[in-house]
């Protein structure tokens, strides 16, 4: 085991997979000599050459569309979208092409691509460098969507995504790059796409979260424990396919569900979890499934007080948990 930053875990997964498999290529804006705007692809160009670490033109549909073609002809592309906010230019390629290729050809073609995209706020990124975009893409049958919350998961899920035969959207919360550290196994490993994980056991309520919010939920649970409220924290980590078994089992133990995400509330991913609990876990419930989400404004605003107003924190999560526990 080694103590790693979140960012280094992602980098290591890319480096090791590129070393293991010569068909793995990386493409995106500034991924070459610069090593990415966040430094995730640092050193890859030097190690594997410009032909496998491709500084792409500034065009997101092109990045994803080219990656799809590469995957059809024997490569395993990992496309980087510089900020998740810019991924929507590639929406048609993701929705109409990558996610449908297998279904529309009745398994004659597959599309083994990974799209990495830094998302999330709290870094003064404002309207176009802070957004959460998971709801749009988790909605699409044929897509897989993962959101790691720890360095070990960041590495294991990325390795699994690269080896997966289907398109995977890999969302990394940019505030975690240098602020979150953790133990990462030194030997080769994967974290399977699909299963959620209970990060902390508790009897009074379940908190469902992913990415940065799973970390904030754990901090909130520490606070709550000092007050005598035992919160169970479930790190969802794969949004599609969703591990409803782990979610429902947790609600079966606690009878209360708090769903937390930074993305807007209306039509957000939390609605899917809440609906699943309401439909399939109703008999366990002592309180309504409750969502704590980013406010329904179009995007995260810039200036400190209004960015702080937008962002969810352990304190806000603890407050919502107290109210739910007292219901």
């Amino acid at each position: 085991m080694a103590d790693k930053r979140f960012l280094d875990a992602i980098h290591d997964a890319l480096h090791e997979e590129m070393a293991r498999d010569s068909t793995v290529v990386v493409l995106g804006e500034d991924v070459g000599k610069k090593g990415g705007v966040f430094g995730v692809t640092e050193g890859l160009s030097e190690a594997f050459g410009e032909a496998r670490v491709i500084d792409s033109p500034l065009a997101e549909s092109g990045i994803v569309g080219v990656a799809i073609g590469m995957s059809v002809n024997g490569l395993r592309p990992v496309a980087e979208i510089q900020f998740a906010d810019f991924i929507h230019a590639a929406f048609d390629q993701i929705l109409s092409e990558a996610a449908r290729l297998r279904y529309r050809s009745k398994n004659d073609f597959g599309c083994p691509i990974v799209i990495r995209a830094p998302f999330g706020g709290g870094v003064h990124g404002a309207l176009y460098h802070s957004q959460s975009i998971e709801a749009f893409y988790a909605h699409i049958p044929g897509m897989k969507v993962v959101v790691p919350a720890t360095p070990a998961d960041a590495k294991g899920l990325l390795v699994a995504a690269i080896r997966d035969p289907d398109p995977v959207l890999y969302l990394e919360h940019k505030k975690m790059y240098r602020s979150v550290r953790g133990e990462v196994p030194a030997t080769e490993f994967t974290v399977p796409i699909g299963p959620a994980v209970v990060r902390r056991a508790g009897r009074d309520l379940s908190i469902f979260a992913y990415g940065l919010m799973a970390n904030e939920a754990l901090r909130a649970a520490d606070t709550l424990a000092r007050e005598g409220i035992e919160a169970e924290v479930v790190d969802v980590r794969t949004l599609r396919p969703l591990d409803t078994t782990t979610i429902l089992d947790s609600v079966g133990r606690t009878s209360r569900a708090l769903i937390v995400h930074e993305d807007n509330r209306f039509g957000g991913f939390g609605a899917e979890i809440a609906a699943t609990i309401a439909e399939e876990g109703f008999r366990h419930l002592d309180a309504p499934p409750t969502r704590l989400c980013g406010p329904d404004v179009p995007a995260v605003p810039f200036s400190q007080p209004i960015e702080d107003w937008f962002m969810l924190t352990a304190e806000k999560i603890a407050a919502a948990a107290r109210a739910l526990a007292a219901y």
């Binding site: 569309g65 073609g69 050809s105």
Partner: protein, 349 residues
């Protein structure tokens, strides 16, 4: 420039060279091209007959485009190279190895339709064994896939060339630019064949772009842009052969525009008399590639009354047999409609 002044023109000085190169083709090669031309037309006409008789829900036709497709695909290594087609690619996919029966299985939405098992509308071709990429309906998205296929071919050193087809309407979409830009930067082994039939459904080319030719856009990517008369099979073959050779030797992509007549409405749900001038429609048969190539091959002495009769009988037989086979094939079982959203380990690769 007014819309009326924007006129499509041929690249200068190509006709003479094309005629000379055409002479290099052997008679049996020209007859093979002619066979595919006639087969594609006969298959297409049968597709319409199936629709008109209520057996098929929809037709999107390649009539008028066949000559250009035959000429271009003949320049490929038809087994080794890739085709990324579009919805008018009847002749192109036949040449890449899909028999008429498979086109009719697609047309009739049968379970054994090799492109989609009846999931997609007719005209959405694909077949991995023949290196024909599965097609969608948004236009121009496929051009990026062709660039990616070509990048993989170059990186892996496979020697493959990728030919991709679109209409002129697709050249207005952003993905057209992104694909040509990326392919040019990396000098990829890809040929962008644009079949300009003058209309994107009902919108004429003058409202699609302010330059007279699609090929003019090549200048923005530093690659050759060529316009040829798509009614002349051998002229297209000549231009495509150069483009394929250029791709194969690492010199990069070519934007090859072929001017073709759209002999039918956009689809079976369209009435082109509503927006195309009567005079224009009346003169369309003069540009019909079947008519043009028939006359040319008779003049060259390649086509004789005897071999023409044999060839037409063979085409008729193959179309009839293909239709029968497809009509007898089963429809998809709804219980299978949930399959292959994702990879299924037990189902093989």
């Amino acid at each position: 420039m007014s819309a009326k002044e924007t006129r499509t023109r041929l690249s200068p000085g190509r006709d003479g060279a094309a005629a000379r190169r055409g002479d290099e083709l052997r008679a049996d090669q020209m007859l093979e091209m002619y066979y595919y031309l006639c087969l594609a037309r006969a298959v297409d006409e049968r597709m319409w007959a199936l629709q008109r008789s209520g057996k098929a829900a929809f037709v999107i036709s390649g009539q008028g485009h066949e000559g250009a497709q035959v000429g271009a695909v003949y320049a490929l290594d038809r087994e080794g190279d890739w085709l990324v087609p579009f919805y008018r690619s009847v002749a192109a996919v036949l040449m890449k190895g899909m028999p008429p029966a498979e086109i009719f299985l697609i047309q009739l939405g049968r379970d054994t339709d090799p492109s989609s098992g009846g999931r997609q509308m007719p005209g959405h071709y694909g077949h991995s064994r023949h290196k024909i990429l599965s097609t969608s309906s948004p236009v121009a998205t496929q051009l990026l896939h062709a660039a990616g296929i070509a990048y993989a071919a170059k990186l892996r050193g496979t020697g493959e060339v990728c030919l991709t087809e679109s209409g002129e309407g697709a050249t207005s979409a952003g993905d057209f630019h992104e694909a040509l830009n990326f392919a040019s930067i990396h000098r990829l082994p890809v040929v962008f064949l644009v079949e300009n039939n003058g209309y994107a459904i009902s919108v004429p080319v003058a409202k699609q772009m302010a330059v007279p030719n699609v090929s003019a856009r090549a200048a923005g990517y530093g690659i050759p842009g060529v316009t040829v008369d798509g009614s002349h099979v051998i002229q297209v073959y000549d231009a495509a052969r150069k483009a394929v050779a250029r791709a194969r030797t690492g010199e990069g992509p070519t934007l090859l525009e072929v001017l073709v007549p759209r002999l039918t409405a956009h689809s079976s749900d369209d009435r082109q008399e509503k927006y195309r001038p009567t005079d224009e429609l009346a003169h369309l048969p003069e540009r019909d590639p079947v008519r043009v190539f028939t006359a040319e091959l008779r003049e060259r002495g390649v086509l004789t009354p005897a071999n023409e009769q044999d060839l037409r009988a063979r085409v008729q037989r193959e179309v009839d047999e293909g239709t029968e086979l497809a009509e007898a094939a089963p429809l998809p079982d709804p219980a299978t409609a949930t399959r292959y959203v994702y990879f299924e380990p037990d189902a093989g690769p």
